[in-house]
Point group: C2
Chain length 134, copies 2
DNA sequence: CAGCATTTGTACGTATGTATC
DNA sequence: GGATACATACGTACAAATGCT
Protein backbone atom coordinates (compact mmCIF):
# COMPACT_ATOMS: atom_id res chain seq x y z
CA UNK A 1 0.00 0.00 0.00
CA UNK A 2 0.95 3.57 -0.59
CA UNK A 3 1.26 5.68 2.51
CA UNK A 4 1.30 9.45 1.95
CA UNK A 5 2.58 9.98 5.49
CA UNK A 6 5.56 7.69 4.99
CA UNK A 7 9.09 9.00 4.78
CA UNK A 8 9.52 7.83 1.21
CA UNK A 9 7.86 10.00 -1.41
CA UNK A 10 4.59 8.72 -2.83
CA UNK A 11 5.89 8.56 -6.39
CA UNK A 12 8.89 6.53 -5.20
CA UNK A 13 6.59 4.13 -3.38
CA UNK A 14 4.60 3.61 -6.57
CA UNK A 15 7.80 3.15 -8.58
CA UNK A 16 8.96 0.57 -6.02
CA UNK A 17 5.65 -1.25 -6.29
CA UNK A 18 5.65 -1.39 -10.08
CA UNK A 19 9.33 -2.32 -10.16
CA UNK A 20 8.76 -5.24 -7.85
CA UNK A 21 5.86 -6.40 -10.00
CA UNK A 22 8.13 -6.29 -13.03
CA UNK A 23 10.99 -8.06 -11.32
CA UNK A 24 8.61 -10.62 -9.85
CA UNK A 25 7.10 -11.39 -13.24
CA UNK A 26 3.57 -10.24 -12.42
CA UNK A 27 4.14 -7.72 -15.17
CA UNK A 28 5.89 -9.69 -17.88
CA UNK A 29 8.01 -8.21 -20.70
CA UNK A 30 5.79 -6.70 -23.38
CA UNK A 31 2.82 -6.35 -21.06
CA UNK A 32 1.20 -2.97 -20.60
CA UNK A 33 1.14 -1.18 -17.29
CA UNK A 34 -2.25 0.14 -16.20
CA UNK A 35 -2.89 3.56 -17.71
CA UNK A 36 -1.78 6.64 -15.82
CA UNK A 37 -5.38 7.49 -15.07
CA UNK A 38 -6.09 4.00 -13.70
CA UNK A 39 -3.01 4.01 -11.50
CA UNK A 40 -3.98 7.42 -10.18
CA UNK A 41 -7.51 6.29 -9.34
CA UNK A 42 -6.50 2.93 -7.89
CA UNK A 43 -4.02 4.49 -5.51
CA UNK A 44 -5.90 7.68 -4.83
CA UNK A 45 -3.13 9.93 -6.10
CA UNK A 46 -2.86 12.48 -8.88
CA UNK A 47 -1.87 11.67 -12.41
CA UNK A 48 1.10 14.01 -12.02
CA UNK A 49 2.46 11.80 -9.26
CA UNK A 50 1.87 8.67 -11.32
CA UNK A 51 3.87 10.24 -14.12
CA UNK A 52 6.74 10.91 -11.76
CA UNK A 53 6.79 7.23 -10.80
CA UNK A 54 6.69 6.05 -14.40
CA UNK A 55 9.37 8.59 -15.27
CA UNK A 56 11.56 6.94 -12.68
CA UNK A 57 11.06 3.52 -14.29
CA UNK A 58 11.76 5.00 -17.70
CA UNK A 59 15.12 6.35 -16.59
CA UNK A 60 15.90 2.93 -15.19
CA UNK A 61 15.16 1.40 -18.55
CA UNK A 62 12.49 -0.90 -17.15
CA UNK A 63 9.58 0.35 -19.24
CA UNK A 64 9.09 1.96 -22.60
CA UNK A 65 6.31 4.25 -23.67
CA UNK A 66 4.56 3.82 -26.99
CA UNK A 67 2.48 6.94 -27.22
CA UNK A 68 -0.38 6.95 -27.04
CA UNK A 69 -0.84 3.20 -26.92
CA UNK A 70 0.48 2.77 -23.44
CA UNK A 71 3.45 2.00 -21.25
CA UNK A 72 5.00 -1.44 -21.54
CA UNK A 73 7.50 -3.57 -19.68
CA UNK A 74 10.64 -3.50 -21.76
CA UNK A 75 11.38 -6.58 -23.84
CA UNK A 76 15.05 -7.67 -23.78
CA UNK A 77 16.85 -7.13 -27.08
CA UNK A 78 18.99 -9.80 -28.76
CA UNK A 79 22.55 -9.14 -27.70
CA UNK A 80 25.60 -8.98 -29.92
CA UNK A 81 29.01 -9.58 -28.38
CA UNK A 82 31.85 -7.31 -29.44
CA UNK A 83 35.47 -8.25 -28.91
CA UNK A 84 37.81 -5.51 -27.81
CA UNK A 85 40.69 -4.85 -30.16
CA UNK A 86 44.25 -4.10 -29.09
CA UNK A 87 44.48 -0.91 -27.07
CA UNK A 88 40.75 -0.33 -27.12
CA UNK A 89 38.89 0.98 -24.10
CA UNK A 90 35.19 0.53 -23.36
CA UNK A 91 33.20 3.04 -21.32
CA UNK A 92 29.52 3.69 -20.74
CA UNK A 93 27.45 6.81 -20.31
CA UNK A 94 23.97 8.11 -20.98
CA UNK A 95 23.32 9.45 -24.46
CA UNK A 96 22.24 12.99 -25.10
CA UNK A 97 18.81 13.63 -26.54
CA UNK A 98 20.30 13.93 -30.03
CA UNK A 99 22.17 10.63 -29.71
CA UNK A 100 19.00 8.94 -28.53
CA UNK A 101 17.32 9.90 -31.75
CA UNK A 102 20.33 9.16 -33.93
CA UNK A 103 20.79 5.64 -32.62
CA UNK A 104 17.08 5.08 -31.99
CA UNK A 105 17.71 4.32 -28.33
CA UNK A 106 14.96 3.66 -25.86
CA UNK A 107 14.87 5.79 -22.76
CA UNK A 108 17.04 4.62 -19.92
CA UNK A 109 19.43 2.84 -22.28
CA UNK A 110 23.10 3.83 -21.92
CA UNK A 111 25.61 3.78 -24.75
CA UNK A 112 28.86 1.84 -24.76
CA UNK A 113 31.68 3.86 -26.24
CA UNK A 114 34.69 2.04 -27.66
CA UNK A 115 37.76 4.23 -27.89
CA UNK A 116 40.53 3.01 -30.18
CA UNK A 117 44.22 3.61 -29.67
CA UNK A 118 44.12 6.47 -32.16
CA UNK A 119 41.37 8.20 -30.22
CA UNK A 120 38.53 7.41 -32.61
CA UNK A 121 35.32 6.28 -31.01
CA UNK A 122 32.40 3.99 -31.83
CA UNK A 123 29.05 4.13 -30.08
CA UNK A 124 26.78 1.15 -29.38
CA UNK A 125 23.42 0.76 -27.65
CA UNK A 126 24.03 -0.90 -24.30
CA UNK A 127 20.86 -2.96 -24.51
CA UNK A 128 22.06 -4.73 -27.66
CA UNK A 129 25.82 -4.98 -27.14
CA UNK A 130 28.11 -6.69 -24.69
CA UNK A 131 31.88 -6.51 -24.65
CA UNK A 132 34.40 -9.29 -24.25
CA UNK A 133 38.11 -9.91 -24.78
CA UNK A 134 39.80 -12.12 -27.36
CA UNK B 1 15.77 32.11 -27.82
CA UNK B 2 12.96 29.89 -26.72
CA UNK B 3 10.00 29.77 -29.04
CA UNK B 4 6.78 28.36 -27.58
CA UNK B 5 5.32 27.98 -31.05
CA UNK B 6 8.23 25.87 -32.29
CA UNK B 7 7.85 22.20 -33.02
CA UNK B 8 10.30 21.20 -30.30
CA UNK B 9 8.91 21.28 -26.79
CA UNK B 10 9.86 24.28 -24.68
CA UNK B 11 11.55 22.19 -22.02
CA UNK B 12 13.64 20.46 -24.68
CA UNK B 13 14.67 23.81 -26.12
CA UNK B 14 15.83 24.94 -22.68
CA UNK B 15 17.67 21.65 -22.16
CA UNK B 16 19.35 22.12 -25.54
CA UNK B 17 20.38 25.64 -24.57
CA UNK B 18 21.85 24.65 -21.23
CA UNK B 19 23.53 21.61 -22.74
CA UNK B 20 25.25 23.72 -25.37
CA UNK B 21 26.44 26.11 -22.67
CA UNK B 22 27.91 23.19 -20.76
CA UNK B 23 29.52 21.64 -23.81
CA UNK B 24 30.80 25.03 -24.91
CA UNK B 25 32.38 25.71 -21.54
CA UNK B 26 30.28 28.75 -20.68
CA UNK B 27 29.09 26.66 -17.77
CA UNK B 28 32.23 24.98 -16.50
CA UNK B 29 32.36 21.81 -14.38
CA UNK B 30 31.46 22.58 -10.78
CA UNK B 31 29.68 25.80 -11.68
CA UNK B 32 26.09 26.30 -10.61
CA UNK B 33 23.27 26.69 -13.08
CA UNK B 34 20.93 29.62 -12.49
CA UNK B 35 18.21 28.70 -10.01
CA UNK B 36 14.98 27.22 -11.31
CA UNK B 37 13.15 30.40 -10.44
CA UNK B 38 15.68 32.54 -12.31
CA UNK B 39 15.56 30.36 -15.39
CA UNK B 40 11.79 30.49 -15.34
CA UNK B 41 11.73 34.27 -15.10
CA UNK B 42 14.51 34.84 -17.64
CA UNK B 43 12.79 32.74 -20.26
CA UNK B 44 9.23 33.58 -19.36
CA UNK B 45 8.24 29.99 -18.65
CA UNK B 46 6.95 28.15 -15.60
CA UNK B 47 9.15 26.52 -13.00
CA UNK B 48 7.53 23.19 -13.86
CA UNK B 49 8.88 23.46 -17.37
CA UNK B 50 12.32 24.45 -16.13
CA UNK B 51 12.34 21.38 -13.92
CA UNK B 52 11.53 19.18 -16.91
CA UNK B 53 14.53 20.61 -18.75
CA UNK B 54 16.86 20.11 -15.79
CA UNK B 55 15.45 16.62 -15.33
CA UNK B 56 16.51 15.87 -18.88
CA UNK B 57 20.07 17.01 -18.16
CA UNK B 58 20.10 14.95 -14.97
CA UNK B 59 19.18 11.78 -16.84
CA UNK B 60 21.98 12.56 -19.29
CA UNK B 61 24.40 12.80 -16.40
CA UNK B 62 25.42 16.35 -17.28
CA UNK B 63 24.39 18.00 -14.02
CA UNK B 64 24.04 17.01 -10.39
CA UNK B 65 21.73 18.50 -7.82
CA UNK B 66 22.89 19.34 -4.33
CA UNK B 67 19.70 20.19 -2.55
CA UNK B 68 19.00 22.86 -1.59
CA UNK B 69 22.31 24.45 -2.59
CA UNK B 70 21.70 24.33 -6.28
CA UNK B 71 22.28 22.48 -9.53
CA UNK B 72 25.86 22.11 -10.74
CA UNK B 73 27.67 21.04 -13.87
CA UNK B 74 29.04 17.60 -13.18
CA UNK B 75 32.74 17.34 -12.43
CA UNK B 76 34.46 14.36 -14.13
CA UNK B 77 35.56 11.61 -11.77
CA UNK B 78 39.03 10.04 -11.84
CA UNK B 79 38.79 6.88 -13.91
CA UNK B 80 40.07 3.43 -13.03
CA UNK B 81 40.73 0.93 -15.81
CA UNK B 82 39.63 -2.66 -15.27
CA UNK B 83 41.03 -5.52 -17.33
CA UNK B 84 38.62 -8.21 -18.40
CA UNK B 85 39.45 -11.69 -17.18
CA UNK B 86 39.09 -14.88 -19.22
CA UNK B 87 35.51 -15.51 -20.22
CA UNK B 88 34.25 -12.32 -18.65
CA UNK B 89 31.59 -10.20 -20.31
CA UNK B 90 30.98 -6.49 -19.76
CA UNK B 91 27.58 -4.89 -20.14
CA UNK B 92 26.03 -1.59 -19.13
CA UNK B 93 22.62 -0.56 -17.89
CA UNK B 94 20.98 2.00 -15.65
CA UNK B 95 20.91 1.20 -11.95
CA UNK B 96 17.71 0.89 -10.00
CA UNK B 97 16.94 3.42 -7.32
CA UNK B 98 18.26 1.02 -4.67
CA UNK B 99 21.52 0.45 -6.54
CA UNK B 100 21.96 4.17 -6.91
CA UNK B 101 21.92 4.53 -3.16
CA UNK B 102 24.02 1.42 -2.51
CA UNK B 103 26.82 2.49 -4.82
CA UNK B 104 26.33 6.20 -4.19
CA UNK B 105 25.81 6.86 -7.88
CA UNK B 106 24.93 10.26 -9.23
CA UNK B 107 21.85 10.49 -11.40
CA UNK B 108 22.36 9.70 -15.03
CA UNK B 109 25.32 7.43 -14.28
CA UNK B 110 25.04 3.88 -15.69
CA UNK B 111 26.61 0.83 -14.10
CA UNK B 112 29.03 -1.51 -15.82
CA UNK B 113 28.29 -5.13 -14.99
CA UNK B 114 31.07 -7.69 -15.32
CA UNK B 115 29.78 -11.25 -15.65
CA UNK B 116 32.28 -14.03 -14.97
CA UNK B 117 32.28 -17.43 -16.62
CA UNK B 118 30.55 -18.93 -13.58
CA UNK B 119 27.75 -16.40 -13.81
CA UNK B 120 28.77 -14.24 -10.87
CA UNK B 121 28.57 -10.51 -11.41
CA UNK B 122 30.36 -7.40 -10.25
CA UNK B 123 28.93 -3.90 -10.54
CA UNK B 124 30.92 -0.72 -11.14
CA UNK B 125 29.96 2.95 -11.56
CA UNK B 126 30.38 3.86 -15.22
CA UNK B 127 31.69 7.34 -14.43
CA UNK B 128 34.68 5.92 -12.58
CA UNK B 129 35.48 2.74 -14.47
CA UNK B 130 36.61 1.86 -17.97
CA UNK B 131 37.16 -1.61 -19.33
CA UNK B 132 40.08 -2.93 -21.36
CA UNK B 133 41.55 -6.28 -22.43
CA UNK B 134 44.83 -7.86 -21.34
C1' DC C 1 20.62 31.51 19.36
C1' DA C 2 16.42 32.72 16.46
C1' DG C 3 14.66 34.33 12.20
C1' DC C 4 14.56 34.88 7.31
C1' DA C 5 15.55 34.19 2.42
C1' DT C 6 16.81 30.95 -1.02
C1' DT C 7 16.50 26.62 -3.48
C1' DT C 8 15.10 22.16 -4.59
C1' DG C 9 11.44 18.36 -3.70
C1' DT C 10 6.79 16.77 -3.56
C1' DA C 11 1.94 16.86 -4.72
C1' DC C 12 -2.04 18.75 -6.18
C1' DG C 13 -5.05 20.84 -9.86
C1' DT C 14 -6.33 22.40 -14.74
C1' DA C 15 -6.13 22.79 -19.70
C1' DT C 16 -4.85 21.61 -24.26
C1' DG C 17 -2.49 18.92 -27.95
C1' DT C 18 -1.73 14.69 -30.53
C1' DA C 19 -1.82 10.01 -31.92
C1' DT C 20 -4.17 5.56 -31.78
C1' DC C 21 -8.03 2.58 -31.82
C1' DG D 1 -16.54 10.91 -34.77
C1' DG D 2 -15.60 9.57 -30.18
C1' DA D 3 -12.95 7.47 -26.52
C1' DT D 4 -8.53 6.60 -24.74
C1' DA D 5 -3.78 7.62 -23.38
C1' DC D 6 0.41 9.93 -23.20
C1' DA D 7 2.86 14.84 -23.70
C1' DT D 8 3.28 19.51 -22.71
C1' DA D 9 2.61 23.58 -19.96
C1' DC D 10 0.57 26.45 -16.78
C1' DG D 11 -0.60 27.41 -11.91
C1' DT D 12 -0.59 26.75 -6.60
C1' DA D 13 0.97 25.24 -2.06
C1' DC D 14 3.82 23.44 1.28
C1' DA D 15 8.06 20.80 2.99
C1' DA D 16 12.94 20.43 3.93
C1' DA D 17 17.64 21.79 4.00
C1' DT D 18 21.02 25.25 3.69
C1' DG D 19 23.15 29.63 4.53
C1' DC D 20 23.03 34.37 6.02
C1' DT D 21 21.78 38.02 9.26
Amino acid sequence: MIDPSADRAVFRQLADLLRSQIEGGELAPGEPLPSELRLAQEHGISRTTVRQAIGQLRTEGLVTVDRPRGTFVRVPEPVEVITLGRGELASARMPTDAERRTYRLGEGVPVIVITAADGSTAVHPADRVQVTRP
